[in-house]
């Protein structure tokens, strides 16, 4: 993997990959969403609001997946001190924060007609909100520390601490939820994703999920290419100012 970690090689490789990535991401996401919006039958209880799920659930998957990706990139950056890994973690974070926000907002829009409220302090909602805080804190560290190398390492330490904490937060929030929740509140059952779901509804979901994953990598590569060039410009300007 480190063979591809050379920024020049990354630029060449990503330039070759990007058109295909965009094509595949659009080719999966758009038809998947078309199916979800026009072809999938309305749910017998939720009616047409079930279509929100096709944006909501893939966003939730991506929110967790991207944090995991940042963790791997952060560990690689900490251990091998490789600038490309730092750039990968840094550039993945805003995308992850976006997906988390989309997940929360679509969930709220779905919750209003279904639960009668935009927000309940359910375990899943709360842990998603905490995940958003983790993303924002990570972005905040990058923004606050001027020295890029130091910022990379501080953000990586924070990301690792966050990953250690996610299971604890998850567990504590679920424990708290069962302690406090009355029987009247509608629960966001995991059963929505269980195999009990009809294949006609499941397939578009998986297709959109895969499309979002490819979309993430396409966006990530574009952002990383920008970051590499930004660094180069900064180095050139510094050299110019120095010479």
């Amino acid at each position: 993997m480190l063979r591809y970690a050379n920024p020049k090689r990354f630029l060449d490789l990503s330039a070759a990959l990007l058109p295909w990535l965009w094509l595949a991401a659009a080719g999966l996401t758009l038809p998947g969403l078309y199916q979800a919006i026009f072809l999938v039958p309305p749910d017998y209880q939720q009616g047409d609001t079930v279509r929100i799920m096709y944006v909501h659930v893939p966003s939730a998957w991506m929110a967790s997946f991207i944090y995991g990706f940042m963790f791997v990139a952060s560990v690689v950056g900490l251990v091998w001190k490789h600038p490309l890994a730092d750039a990968a973690a840094k550039e993945a974070a805003p995308i992850g924060a976006m997906f988390t926000a989309v997940c929360l907002i679509t969930g709220a829009l779905w919750g209003k007609p279904m639960w009668g409220t935009y927000w309940i302090w359910d375990a899943r909602l709360t842990s998603m909100l905490v995940l958003l805080f983790l993303y924002l804190g990570y972005l905040g560290v990058w923004a606050a520390i001027e020295d890029r190398a130091k910022a990379a390492r501080a953000a990586a330490v924070l990301c690792v601490v966050g990953v250690v904490n996610i299971p604890i937060i998850r567990f504590s929030v679920e424990w708290w939820d069962t302690l406090h929740q009355g029987p009247s509140v509608v629960r966001f059952e995991g059963g929505k994703l269980a195999p009990s779901i009809d294949p006609s509804m499941l397939w578009p979901l998986l297709i959109v999920g895969l499309g979002c994953t490819l979309l993430f990598f396409a966006l990530l590569f574009v952002r990383m290419r920008t970051e590499i060039r930004r660094r180069r410009i900064r180095a050139l300007l510094a050299a110019q100012a120095g010479g």
Partner: protein
């Protein structure tokens, strides 16, 4: 060990001479406790229900307020470099500073909590659990907070960022801490919450000095 104790003693005397030490923390708790009935209304049953959770939240807030100075002053006047160069491992130095921080914020609150709980009409039966849970759980605020403080040490405006960084780390402690007290009030088995709280505390005791020292080294390099 003597270096460790000397560092604790130094931070304690600094806290007493510059910041009023534990009394400033107590004044903070008293003011927020006075604000709660003013904000939500003086209905005693409402206050009583909220008391346990509120006292835990204010313990977290008090830690947030004081944490940004945990390493900041030392980073500014260069004593952090001296600490890093000394014989004492940086991990132990972080632990010593956490201990001093807890002695001046967490411990006073734990001891004063029954009085504040009384003012908030907390139901009898929760008082022992309140003191015990704060004694066991509030060190996490200092320990987990030290990670955030170390990450933001040397930043000019680290305070706000710090609260964003450590908030997720405080979530489980507040849940288990307030859960312990609520369980005791309801006469339920409070053991589970309390044991989980103690586990979080021990977990933080082991890991926070390591992560805090790693974060400090970034700024020292």
């Amino acid at each position: 060990m003597s270096a460790f104790l000397a560092l604790v003693r130094r931070d304690l005397s600094l806290a007493f001479r510059v910041g009023g030490g534990p009394f400033l923390g107590l004044a903070f708790f008293l003011t927020v406790t006075a604000l709660l009935p003013l904000g939500v209304g003086a209905r005693l049953n409402l206050l009583g229900e909220a008391a346990a959770g509120f006292l835990w939240v204010s313990a977290a807030l008090a830690a947030l307020l004081s944490l940004d100075r945990l390493f900041q002053a030392d980073a500014e006047d260069g004593s952090l470099e001296q600490l890093a160069l000394g014989d004492l491992p940086l991990e132990a130095a972080v632990l010593a500073k956490c201990l001093a921080h807890w002695l001046t914020t967490g411990l006073p609150l734990a001891l004063a909590a029954p009085v504040l709980a009384l003012m908030l009409n907390m139901p009898a039966g929760g008082y022992g659990a309140l003191v015990l849970s704060l004694l066991v759980g509030s060190p996490v605020f200092s320990l987990a907070g030290a990670i955030g403080a170390a990450l933001t040490a040397g930043l000019r405006r680290g305070g706000l960022l710090l609260s964003l960084l450590v908030l997720p780390l405080f979530v489980p402690v507040v849940i288990f801490g307030a859960g312990t007290v609520t369980a005791a009030i309801n006469g339920a088995e409070g053991d589970a919450a309390f044991l989980l709280l103690a586990a979080s505390s021990l977990f933080a005791l082991v890991l926070a000095p390591l992560a805090g020292a790693a974060a400090l080294r970034i700024h020292l390099s």
